[in-house]
Amino acid sequence: MFAAGCDVGSLTSKAVIMKGGKIIESVIIKSKARPWESADEVMGMALSRAGLTMTDIKRCVGTGYGRDKISFIHEAVSEIACHGKGARWLVPSVRTVIDIGGQDCKALRLDDKGNMMKFITNDKCASGTGRFLEVMAKVLNLSLDELGEMSARSKQPITFASACTVWAQADVIQHLNDKVPIEDIAAGVNNAMASRMSTLACNIGLEKDVCMTGGVAKNNGVVNALEKHLGIRIKRIHREDPQLAGAIGAALFAAEKANGGVI
């Protein structure tokens, strides 16, 4: 019995197909302007690669900002709940999940059974979201992957004066003009991100094990800096791409419901 999850975000859309608790296929694409187009495309790609059609899918759950607009889902579940569920599958011992996506960031705590206890989100501004890193990477003429790797090479990371993406951008340009080594600027960017996120995470109280999901979880610079700020080890996700956490959670909710379980 196949179950599927579709996570339509503002920057990326993800689809996951599962059977028997294992991932059969997963796809991540850049989102289109309209969420239903993104959903159709990403799910279409996943089905095609798996050699399946939508009729093979017993139940599909949608999540993310565009979830209500997806035509082929049976149910919409909040992305926060899906991220929690997905993170639990990715790291069975996880109790605190920190997710930094393209346009928002959130932190949630799970109980020992994986049920959501508390959550907090912050999307009032770009700082503390993937957008901050995107903007800075562009100014530094780096890819996001390169930005993440820079921290390890830095000898003296700069401290950003401002938490604001716009002002920080101006600061980066100033540092470049002053011939500050790029790795030091990049490390400063990663640290600023981590610092902002740590305040949010501490707000809900930290409990081991802690993991990170979302695209920014792939930035080692941010993850390492966040560990230092929080004073707690963050378990790295190796099982799958951490960006898939929401879609995985959605697929798991779908599977549970299809099997007569409760959410």
Binding site: T159, A161, S162, W167, G231
Partner: protein
């Protein structure tokens, strides 16, 4: 909060910092210069203060003393009270309570720490306090909320009716830590029988509260002793303010800061008087020679700060002003409205000022009550800004008295009550002929706007308005 920040009590560390700084000049000049290299984040502030000679030395010593008092309060069997800068500590000293002034500690840390009080401010947010609240309280409050400071016995404030975000931070912290709380409430009117009676009854209630907390009755003699010293301080401050009217102003750039900081820490105590006397000696000498207090010796502009200063690390605001020949003509924080203050004489607003009457307990209470109600901000930010005795009148009067060339507003984004009408104030002060600059920085948090940008914009204003 980083692990290392939680290792030591922050106020104990501050005490050690100031205590060490107070010994810097006890060696040779060569040793002194060598030591400065080891304190890269606050060597300029130390040098600026110690450069003033005895006043700076004494000022650093009293900062150390203040921190020592609160660090060892419990060991010495004294109660501690978290309070605010605009609450005169006279009553605390008279009752042997050790005051812990949140904002002054925030200033100290913003001056001397590389990251200022960022971690403590963020900690407030972690425990549920709003991040939009004023950074001046958050900077220190966060440390106490995290339990990495002295034991706190009570919270006492006098900002309801004047500054919500201040009063609210006290209310939050006291509820969070489950400690007793007292507020002196300020009516919108400063003068008049109703307001006087209100201040009186409220202060009596405060005394009852403090007596209940300490288990001791207020000794009128102790209060008299403090108020006598306070009166002496008022005389010195009045003379300093008068000298500041001279062109050129003979007061060195950091004097205003030392006046208000000393008073906030040690009102009515010999520690403050010592600093003031020392300052007056040098101010008189400079005045006799008709020389400028600026280190460059040439006064190009006179700036009146209508609100508070910017406490960027290492006293960068003062460095900027001094370096550009801009004479600092004071701000709202250094005017206490004693009857003998020059601005009182200038305005003939006797009713807005205070007199000290030590005849009996009732008159003593009335006096401290009225002294408190005339503290900076408590006096002039309570009612509509354009009402009699309120902020506009004070600003224009002081700017005129000090022959200011421009007026500067600086505060914090958390200052709801001034951001609620500062544009109106600026319109009126511009209309009165004073180029007025509104700084959008945060006096205690460079993450809002870096000092470099703040300085750049300030200088740009001067250029655009053809003041330089």
């Amino acid at each position: 909060m980083r692990k290392e920040t939680k290792e030591y009590k922050f106020d104990w560390m501050l005490w050690n910092t100031f205590a060490a700084a107070s010994r810097l000049k006890s060696g040779t000049q060569k040793e002194y210069q060598a030591m400065l290299k080891y304190i890269p984040y606050f060597n300029r502030i130390v040098d600026t203060l110690l450069g003033t000679g005895e006043p700076g030395q004494k000022f650093i010593e009293i900062c150390s003393k203040y921190m020592e008092n609160l660090t060892f309060a419990k060991e010495r069997g004294k109660k501690t009270a978290i309070t605010t800068f605009c609450f005169s500590p006279s009553i605390f000293y008279a009752m042997d309570i050790v005051p812990i002034c949140l904002e002054v500690l925030s200033v100290m840390m913003t001056f001397i720490y590389k990251r200022g009080t960022a971690e403590f401010m963020d900690y407030c947010n972690e425990v549920g306090f709003t991040e939009t609240s004023c950074s001046s309280q958050r900077g220190t409050s966060g440390a106490y909320l995290a339990g990495i400071g002295a034991d706190i016995d009570m919270f006492v404030t006098d900002t309801p009716g004047v500054c919500d975000t201040n009063a609210n931070s006290f209310a939050f912290a006291s509820a969070y830590l489950n400690k007793p709380f007292f507020q002196l409430d300020m009516p919108p009117d400063l003068t008049g029988e109703r307001s006087s009676e209100y201040h009186r009854e409220d202060f009596k209630a405060l005394i009852r509260f403090l007596e209940a907390q300490t288990g001791k009755k207020l000794d009128p003699e102790r209060l008299r002793e403090n108020l006598r010293e306070l009166a002496r301080q008022d005389e010195i401050i009045a003379e300093l303010e008068d000298l500041a009217r001279m062109v050129p102003n003979p007061l060195p750039i950091s004097y205003n800061l030392m006046v208000y900081a000393s008073r906030f820490l040690f009102a009515g105590m010999p520690e403050c008087t010592g600093v003031l006397e020392s300052m007056l000696k040098i101010a008189r000498e400079n005045a006799a020679k008709n020389i400028s207090g600026l280190s460059g010796g040439v006064e190009k502009l006179r700036a009146f700060f209508c609100y508070i200063d910017h406490y960027a690390q290492n006293m960068q605001l003062w460095q900027m002003l001094d370096g550009n020949g801009i004479c600092y003509q004071g701000n709202i924080l250094s005017h206490f409205w004693s009857h003998n203050a020059p601005h009182v004489a200038e305005y003939h607003k006797e009713e807005a000022a205070y007199n000290i009457d030590m005849t009996d307990m009732d008159s003593l209470i009335d006096s401290v009550g009225i002294i408190n109600s005339r503290m900076p901000m408590i006096k002039s930010i309570r009612g509509p800004y354009d009402a009699p005795n309120m902020w506009l009148e004070d600003t224009l009067g002081l700017a005129k008295m000090y022959k200011a060339d421009l007026i500067v507003y600086n505060g914090t984004p958390g200052c709801r009550n001034t951001w609620g009408m500062v544009k109106l104030l600026a319109r009126d002060t511009e209309k009165a002929g004073y180029p007025t600059y509104i700084m959008y920085a945060d006096a205690f948090d460079e993450r809002v706007q870096s000092w470099e940008t703040t300085e750049e914009r300030f200088m740009e204003f001067l250029k655009v308005r053809r003041l330089v």
